[in-house]
Amino acid sequence: MAARLKLHGTNCAKSGPRRSSGARHADELPDLDRLIHERIRLGIVSALAINDSLSFNDLRRLLKTTDGNLSVHARKLEEAAYVTCHKFFEGRIPHSEYRLTPAGRRALEQYIQQMEELIRRTRRE
């Protein structure tokens, strides 16, 4: 299932140059969904959010990544039930078709809200 972790003590530290406000960020940051926080997985979910379905090749071309890399990240999203994968043959050629699940869409929406909130807070400071 979706592995979730607090940025506190991990990515929180990325606010390094702002040392004066860093501790406060760490205290106030919401939980971020680590599955989506990773760049390729974020790309997969974003692309599927506005397409009913995309093939493995479409995603690979879109995200400019390798077969192996995409395969690993897509599988993690599949295990988290954020995407579904339909495998089929056209003639003798295997195809994989990915779709975003309602859980995946909610996760992306929540992630975007959290990022926007983080930016708003930073601007207020």
């Binding site: 530290a13 990325k14 974020l42 790309g43 506005i50």
Partner: protein, 204 residues
């Protein structure tokens, strides 16, 4: 479990950007990814509709007694196709939450339009030279070139459609007598076939 905080801070500082910057980058990345993938979903059902009107135009044009009237039917059809394509693209972009002037749309237009401008100029030249019989081949070839150029950043499916148009155009130049039929096959059949494919596979 968690390492001691100073250790984790030091590691993160050495390899990461500030979190607010990461948030901005992530939002930008989401938007760019959506924009790039949006155009893989070019307006498929709009293309199907354009195909239907092209088939009707081909049937009507075939019955015309003069080349000038034949030309008029197809020029009107070109206008109808544009009138379908623009709102269909806009509708699709709206559904994706993107402006019509987003990056991928601009790239497509920049790749697509030069061949269309060339086709317009050559149409005038061939009409002046009373070579209307060459127009189907010219239109199919240059439309195919336009689609291939415009789809350089899009899905391979659109490029395949462009190559099919090139093939139809080459046949129309080799066999001018089949010109109207090949226009029906190209602007009618190919638009409907690939449009439906895009519509089903790429979100409408």
């Amino acid at each position: 479990m968690l390492d001691s905080r100073p250790h984790r801070l030091r590691r993160a500082h050495s390899r990461s950007r500030p979190l607010p910057q990461r948030a901005l980058d992530d939002l930008r990345y989401i938007r760019e990814t959506m924009e790039r993938s949006a155009f893989t979903a070019s307006p498929g059902w709009g293309q199907v509709l354009m195909g239907v009107t092209a088939l009707a135009a081909a049937a009507l044009a075939r019955r015309q007694s003069t080349e000038t009237r034949w030309l008029a039917v197809w020029l009107i059809e070109a206008g109808v196709a544009v009138a379908i394509a623009i709102p269909a693209t806009q509708l699709k972009a709206q559904r994706a939450g993107l402006p019509l002037t987003s990056g991928p749309s601009r790239k497509f237009a920049l790749g697509f339009l030069p061949s269309i401008v060339a086709a317009t100029g050559l149409t005038f030249a061939l009409v002046q030279a009373h070579q209307i019989g060459l127009l189907p081949g010219l239109w199919l070839l240059l439309y195919g070139a336009a689609v291939i150029s415009g789809a350089a950043f899009s899905i391979p499916l659109l490029r395949s459609m462009g190559f099919c148009f090139l093939l139809a155009g080459a046949l129309a130049l080799l066999y001018p007598a089949w010109g109207n039929l090949l226009m029906a096959v190209g602007f009618g059949g190919l638009h409907m076939l690939f449009g439906a494919w895009i519509g089903v596979k790429h979100g409408g």
